[in-house]
Symmetry: C2
Subunit: 343 residues, 2 copies
Amino acid sequence: MSGSEPPVPETRVLAVASHVVSGYVGNKIAVFVLQALGCDAAALNTVQFSNHTGYKQWKGTRVSAQEITDLFEGLKQSYLDDFEMMLSGYIPGAEAVGAVGNIAKELKEKSKGTPGKFFWVLDPVMGDNGRLYVAEEVVPAYQSLIPYADLILPNQFEAEVLSDVKIVDMDTLTQAIQVLHEKYRVPHIVITSVNLLAPDHPPSHLSVVGSSMTSGGRARLFKIVFPAIDCYFSGTGDMFAALMVVRMRQAVAEVPGLGQRPSWLSDDDTPTLELPLARAAERVLASMNEVLSRTKEGMPKDLKPKTADQNSHLAATKAAELRLVRHLDCLRSPKVEFKARVV
Amino acid sequence: MSGSEPPVPETRVLAVASHVVSGYVGNKIAVFVLQALGCDAAALNTVQFSNHTGYKQWKGTRVSAQEITDLFEGLKQSYLDDFEMMLSGYIPGAEAVGAVGNIAKELKEKSKGTPGKFFWVLDPVMGDNGRLYVAEEVVPAYQSLIPYADLILPNQFEAEVLSDVKIVDMDTLTQAIQVLHEKYRVPHIVITSVNLLAPDHPPSHLSVVGSSMTSGGRARLFKIVFPAIDCYFSGTGDMFAALMVVRMRQAVAEVPGLGQRPSWLSDDDTPTLELPLARAAERVLASMNEVLSRTKEGMPKDLKPKTADQNSHLAATKAAELRLVRHLDCLRSPKVEFKARVV
C-alpha cells in the first residue's frame, strides 16, 4: 500500500446494512471495502446475526425501525450527518425500510441547494431467482423510495418486480431499464447478474447491464460480460455495491465539474462507454472477478457443497466466505479485463 | 499493497467490543486494523451507539448478556467458533463481562489439548485517570476472568485496581506487574500510557511497560518511551489492542515452536528484549505514533478543543477521530523508532 494513494478523495459514506459476527456479507463486507479504498464509512447495522442466512441457521437480533431512527438522530445532534454518499443494503421489514428511506430523504433535502453534494446508492434487497425473500409489504416500501435514489442496483428479479416487466431477453431487459428510468426518474441503474442467452454471451458467462439516463429520461445502455465462477458465494451483491460507491465517486471525480451536477448525470452527448457508470462498473467487476477467483482457489478441493448432509453444507458455506482481507490488492488495483459494450 | 504480504499467517480472531456508527473506537477501529493486517476478524458488537461517548452525547442500545451468549451459540452450531485468538474490549456491565468470559473460557477449554492453539488478549476496560467509568461490580467480574487471559492490557489506573498497588514511580509499577503475574498467573502484561516522572522519561513523553513472566512467575520487564502527542484522542486503547493481537502473533510466529507452547511463553533464558511481547509492542507503538501524527496533522488548525462551548467540543472531538483508512501504510509497514529497554 505504501505510496499507493486511495482512489477517491476523502468521502464520508453512510452504509446501512446487516452485520454478521463471522463471515462477509452486508456491512461486514461493505464497510471493509469502503475503508480499504479510503472512505470514512459510518456503519449503521440493521441486524446483528452470528452468520449469514446461507448457513440455513443463525442467531441474533434485528434492529427496530425506531432504533434506526434514533441512531440517525444521534448522528445529527453531534453534526455527524455530513455524508457525501449513502449506501443502503438489506433492511429487515417494511417499517425499517421506511426509516432508512427517511434518513436518505433528509440527507437529500439538506443538500438540495448544492447539486451533487449527496448521492444515494440503493440496493433494493428483496429477492433473487424468481422469489421474494422479504415480506410482501417491503416491495411498495422500496417503490416509494426509488425516486429519491441516484443509483439503484437491483438484480434481474428485483428489476422485474420494480418495473413490472418480465425479463426474458435483451429486449425486455432494455425495456425494464427504460421503465425504471421513466417510472421512478432514477438516473443511474445497474442490473447485476444478468443471466440470458444472447449471441455475445458465451456459455458460463454472466453480465451486468447498466444505464445512465439522458436529460430527457432516455436510457443509455451498456453491458459487461464476464465469466461466471462455478460456486455459490454470499455477499457478492454487497461487495459489488460497496465497490460501485467508490468507483462511481472516482469516475465522476475524473470528469471536471460533473460532481457538482445533480445526480452526477453526464451531458447528453457523452458517449455511452464514457459514462462514469460504465467505467465504474468495469473496475468493480475487475475486483469482483479477482476476489471470487482467489476465494475459489482457496477452497479445499474435497468439499461437496451440494450434498444433503447439513455438516457438509456448513463446511462448504464457510469455505465460500469471500476472501478479501488477504487480497487487498484485488480491491485497490484490479486489472480491468472485461470492458463495457454499447447495448 | 500489491506485492506486500500480510504480516501474519491466516488467523481467525474473535473481537468483542463496542460498535459506533460514526467514528473509530472499539470494534469499529479494532476490526479494521485486524482485517487490514490480514486477519479474519469476527466482530461481536457489545453495543451499537451513534458515536463514542467522548462527544458527551450519543444514542443507541447495549447488547444484553443473553444476546452475547446467543450469538456465540449461533457461531458454535455452525462450527464457526474455530478461533485462534480472541480480543475483548469494552463490555457493558458485569453480567455481560461474565458472558464474554464464558466464551473465552469455553474456547480455552476446547483447545486445552493443543497448547498455544488459542490466545486471549483481554483489555480490562474499567476506567482511566483515577476514576472508574463502569459500575463497581464490573471490577470483581474482571478479576475472576484474568486468570484465563493470556495477555492483559490495563492502563495505569486499571493496573492499580487489579493489583491493589498504587503506582507512583517505576518501583511501584514494577511491583504492580509482579503482583498481576502472581495473583492472576497472567503470562503477559502490557501497561499502556504510563505517565511517571523518571530520569529516562523526557518531558512530554509517555511509556508502555510490559512483561512476559518466567516459568517461575517472575516478571521480565521492558519499557518503551515515546513522545506524547498533545491532543485528546479516543480509540487509541482499542487500536493498540488490535495491533498487539497481530504483532504478538507475528512475533511468536518468528520464533520456531513458540506458537505450540502454552500461552506462547518464551524460555526462561530468553533475553528480555527478545521477548515477542517486546518486539510486538515496538511495532505497535510505531504504528500508533504514525496514525496519531497523521491524525493531528489533518486537524483544522483553528479548533479550540477545550472551550466550554458544546459545538466547539463536538467539532474538536470529530476532528480527533483517528485517521486510519487513508493511512494503511502506517498499519502495514510502520518504521520502528522507539525501542524497548530493560527495566
